[in-house]
C-alpha cells in the first residue's frame, strides 16, 4: 500500500513530462495487454484517476491529457453503449489514438536499445592536442562593443520559462471539474437535458467539453448515481438522479 502511494506520487510527478502516451502505455503494460480498443477501454478509468491528480500541470499540458481522455471516453462509451453511432471523425480519432500509441510504443522499445548500449563501448574522439607554438590570431570582428552585443543576444535567446507553450491553448475543462459540475446540476435539478448541460459542440474545444461531459455522465451511470435515458438515436439524452427514479417507481 505504502509502495502504491509512493509509486502514484512518482507517476503524477513525472506524467507531466512524459505525457499522456507514457501514462497510457504504462497502464496497458501493467495489465500485460496489447494496444487495441478493448485494452484502451479497460484502462480508461485508471487513466482518469491519474488525471484527477494532475491539477498542478499547466493548461497547455492538461489539454493534451484531456484530449487523450476524451478519446478514451469515446472508446469506453462505444463499449458501454453498443447502439452508439460514432461519426467518421470520432472513429478516426479512435483509430488515430491507437496508431499513435503503437508508434510511441515502437520508439519506447527502441529506446531500450539505447539504454542497453549507451556508454558501454565508446568510440573516443582524440584528446585536444597541446599547442606547440603559442599563437594569437584575433579577428577584426572582435571589439568591446561587439562582445557586449553578442553576450546580450545570447542571454536574450534563453527560453524564459521551461514549459512556455508554443501556442496558447484555451483552458480546457478537466474531467474532475466536469464530474463536479454534473453532480452539482443533478443536485439542483431533477431532470435536465444533456445538451443544455454540456453546451454546443461547434469548435474542437467545445466538442472535447461535450465528450468529457458524456464520459462523466456514463461514469455516474455506472456507479448508479444517475439514470440516463435516450428515446431514439441522436435524440437528446435525459439524465435523472437515481433516487428520484427509485422513488417514482
Amino acid at each position: 500500500m505504502q509502495r502504491d502511494v509512493a509509486e502514484n506520487a512518482y507517476k503524477v510527478k513525472t506524467a507531466g513530462f512524459e505525457g499522456p502516451f507514457g501514462l497510457l502505455l504504462n497502464l496497458i503494460e501493467e495489465r500485460k495487454l496489447f494496444i487495441n480498443e478493448i485494452s484502451l477501454s479497460q484502462v480508461t478509468e485508471d487513466f482518469l484517476n491519474y488525471l484527477k491528480n494532475l491539477g498542478n500541470l499547466k493548461p497547455s499540458e492538461i489539454s493534451s491529457f484531456v484530449f487523450v481522455a476524451a478519446t478514451l471516453i469515446l472508446i469506453k462509451s462505444k463499449s458501454l453503449l453498443p447502439n452508439l453511432n460514432l461519426t467518421d471523425e470520432e472513429e478516426g480519432d479512435i483509430r488515430n489514438l491507437e496508431d499513435r500509441l503503437k508508434l510511441y510504443e515502437l520508439y519506447v522499445q527502441l529506446g531500450q536499445n539505447i539504454k542497453n548500449n549507451f556508454g558501454k563501448n565508446i568510440i573516443w574522439a582524440p584528446l585536444e592536442r597541446k599547442n606547440e607554438v603559442l599563437v594569437f590570431l584575433p579577428d577584426d570582428q572582435i571589439t568591446k562593443e561587439s562582445m557586449m552585443t553578442f553576450a546580450h543576444e545570447a542571454l536574450n535567446r534563453i527560453p524564459k520559462k521551461v514549459f512556455l507553450p508554443e501556442v496558447e491553448v484555451k483552458k480546457v475543462v478537466s474531467i474532475e471539474e466536469m464530474i463536479d459540475r454534473l453532480v452539482e446540476r443533478i443536485k439542483n435539478t431533477l431532470r435536465f437535458n444533456f445538451k443544455d448541460f454540456a453546451g454546443k459542440a461547434d469548435t474542437k474545444e467545445e466538442r472535447i467539453v461535450v465528450i468529457v461531459g458524456f464520459l462523466a455522465m456514463l461514469e455516474l451511470a455506472r456507479q448508479g448515481m444517475v439514470n440516463v435515458l435516450q428515446d431514439n438515436n441522436f435524440d437528446d439524452i435525459t439524465i435523472e438522479k437515481q433516487e428520484i427514479i427509485l422513488e417514482n417507481s
Binding site: 505525457g19 529506446g111 548500449n117 568510440i123
Partner: protein, 184 residues
C-alpha cells in the same frame, strides 16, 4: 601517396568531423573519388585501433570501441552515462528517424519536447539543422557524440535500424501529413 591515405592524414590532423565536400575541395578531386577512397579507407581500417565514423556527409576518426574501457581510464573529464525515460524516448526518435522536425517529435511523444531537446543538445547528443528539403523548418539529428556513446560507426549500425526502417517508412508519410499543418 594514395588518395585514401591523404584523406586519412587530413582526418587525423583535424581530429574532428569534416564534410566530404570539404575533403574534395582540399584535395582538389571530385565527389566520386572521395566516396570511393573513403570506402577503401574503411576497409583498410578493419580490425585496427582506429575506426572511421560517418554520418551522411560528415566523416571523422575515433578509437575502436572494443578498447573503450581502457581509454576511459586515460581521460579525466567526467562522463554522464545517465539517460532519463524522456531522454531515451526523444533520442530514439531522433536517432532512428535520423532527421526529424520538432513537431514530429511532439506528435509521436504526445507532449511538448522543446526543453528536452535543448537539454540533449547541451549534452551534445542531438543537433539542430535547417531542413535541406524545406528551409523554413529545422530538423534534429543524432551527433557523432551520440553515435560514439553507442559505439557505432554510423546511424545505420544502431541495433534494429534496418529492421525498423521499413516500418518507419510506412508511418512517415502519414505522420508528415499530420504534422506539416502544424509546422507552417
Amino acid at each position: 601517396m594514395e588518395l585514401e591515405s591523404k584523406i586519412e592524414s587530413i582526418l587525423f590532423f583535424k581530429g574532428e568531423p569534416i564534410s566530404r565536400k570539404k575533403l574534395a575541395e582540399i584535395l582538389k578531386v571530385g565527389q566520386i573519388e572521395i566516396n570511393e577512397s573513403l570506402e577503401k579507407l574503411k576497409k583498410s581500417l578493419q580490425n585496427r585501433g582506429i575506426v572511421l565514423q560517418e554520418k551522411e556527409n560528415d566523416i571523422t576518426l575515433g578509437t575502436n570501441p572494443e578498447i573503450s574501457s581502457l581509454i576511459e581510464h586515460l581521460q579525466k573529464e567526467e562522463l554522464n552515462k545517465e539517460l532519463s525515460k524522456a531522454s531515451l524516448e526523444t533520442l530514439s526518435i531522433v536517432a532512428y528517424k535520423n532527421g526529424v522536425s520538432r513537431s514530429e517529435i511532439d506528435y509521436i511523444r504526445g507532449v511538448n519536447s522543446s526543453f528536452i531537446l535543448r537539454a540533449l543538445s547541451i549534452r551534445g547528443l542531438v543537433e539542430k539543422n535547417i531542413d535541406p528539403k524545406d528551409s523554413r523548418r529545422y530538423i534534429y539529428k543524432p551527433t557523432f557524440e551520440f553515435l560514439s556513446f553507442m559505439g557505432v560507426k554510423s546511424p545505420e549500425e544502431l541495433p534494429d535500424y534496418s529492421e525498423i526502417a521499413g516500418a518507419i517508412g510506412e508511418e512517415a508519410e502519414k505522420l508528415k501529413e499530420e504534422t506539416d499543418a502544424l509546422d507552417l
